[in-house]
Symmetry: C2
Subunit: 223 residues, 2 copies
Amino acid sequence: MAAKQQARQTQKSAARAENERAILAAAEEVFAESGFRGATTGMIAERAGLPKANLHYYFPTKEALYRKVVEHIFTIWLDAANSFDENDDPVEALTAYISTKMDISRAHPMGSKVWANEILHKAPVIQDYLETTLRSWTSSRVAVIDRWVAEGRIAPVNGEYLLYMIWATTQHYADFNHQIDTLNGGAPLSDAQFEEAKQTVVRIVLAGIGAVPAAPGGEGSQA
Amino acid sequence: MAAKQQARQTQKSAARAENERAILAAAEEVFAESGFRGATTGMIAERAGLPKANLHYYFPTKEALYRKVVEHIFTIWLDAANSFDENDDPVEALTAYISTKMDISRAHPMGSKVWANEILHKAPVIQDYLETTLRSWTSSRVAVIDRWVAEGRIAPVNGEYLLYMIWATTQHYADFNHQIDTLNGGAPLSDAQFEEAKQTVVRIVLAGIGAVPAAPGGEGSQA
DNA sequence: AGAAAACCTGACCAAATGGTCAAATCGAGC
DNA sequence: GCTCGATTTGACCATTTGGTCAGGTTTTCT
């Protein structure tokens, strides 16, 4: 008992933590589906299973809640970003990065959609992230790509545009999943289909920049 | 005079045509920036330079106006789609298609954003287009890609996922142009930069699927 | 010129929505 | 079992917004 109380004392009660979690989860869904303006605090409260007034007890304004959601998404994004650096070999690094981004698109499509909505609406909330964290991350990774080119490990390519292609393609599987599902006969991609999509993206990018894994068997698989 | 009147009689007066054009142009911008729910008829009317009540004289409801905007965008999309068929050579066809889609992203970023917003919000208005026109267009082009593969003109690749990659990447330059501008130091890509981006996309896709233009000089440019 | 049709707009309305508040309830420590 | 702060919530309010309407103006047709 005493230990339990002690644990709860750690800042916020269990009930509070649970409520905040439920609200944030509901908010991510609703913001993703409806955008900032399209989402209503009433919808979010309902999906979280509590009255609107209670939601405003935890998050004073709709914008404060939205900011928390966006910050959470940015955290996930940073995790993916790290996978770029796990290996200095272009094949390994890009394969890991693309795979991670694809997995995130499958596991957290809502987060990706909120991000997309933000950019579409000129990033009223995350503009500072774009100008600081994202900009510095991007320029340093472009430097890595430039080095790979200089070392002859990949064909000459503009690093920014390569990264944009990877971002666009991987995030497409989250942001446009409704279109993909519709073209797939109305059903979401199966695990096997998604795996094939992931492999397709990896292969096209790697072959596209002439990054071959050790043995030059790249074109050997051709029929 | 008589001739002028005759010309005006052709369905709608010049004033009417001009007003409708101004409203639709303003609506496309506002819907792109703010989404369906975020846009207000007041904002659209103001940007079009006429009172809100007048806007409602031309377009009875906000949704009717939105539908017209979306239909216009779909028309543009269909034009781009045709460029895929101008040539049966994979290099020619894909180069033309990617180039056209990139040009549209630069010329009509607002339209692309409205489309993206629609998909993000589960396509409440264009679902029927997705299930009919887009679905049949896609499956017939996938058949073309499959044939190219069977004929050994490109490496084995899943046609759907290749198309998704092209759509994602080209539309990224419209939908995420705010992010791209920010990473470009706050300024839009210059014509030269955009041209390089376009060439980068074309090259990566073509090399990525092993589509080489006649002479096998693909990897020769490597340092 | 004059009637009819088309067009324009300020004023207005009902519904939706973000946010507030006071009163009620709960829960831990004494 | 009583106190006090934390939590919960129904009722309420000010603002925004899609849409209406009556009356005025312009254009077209004869």
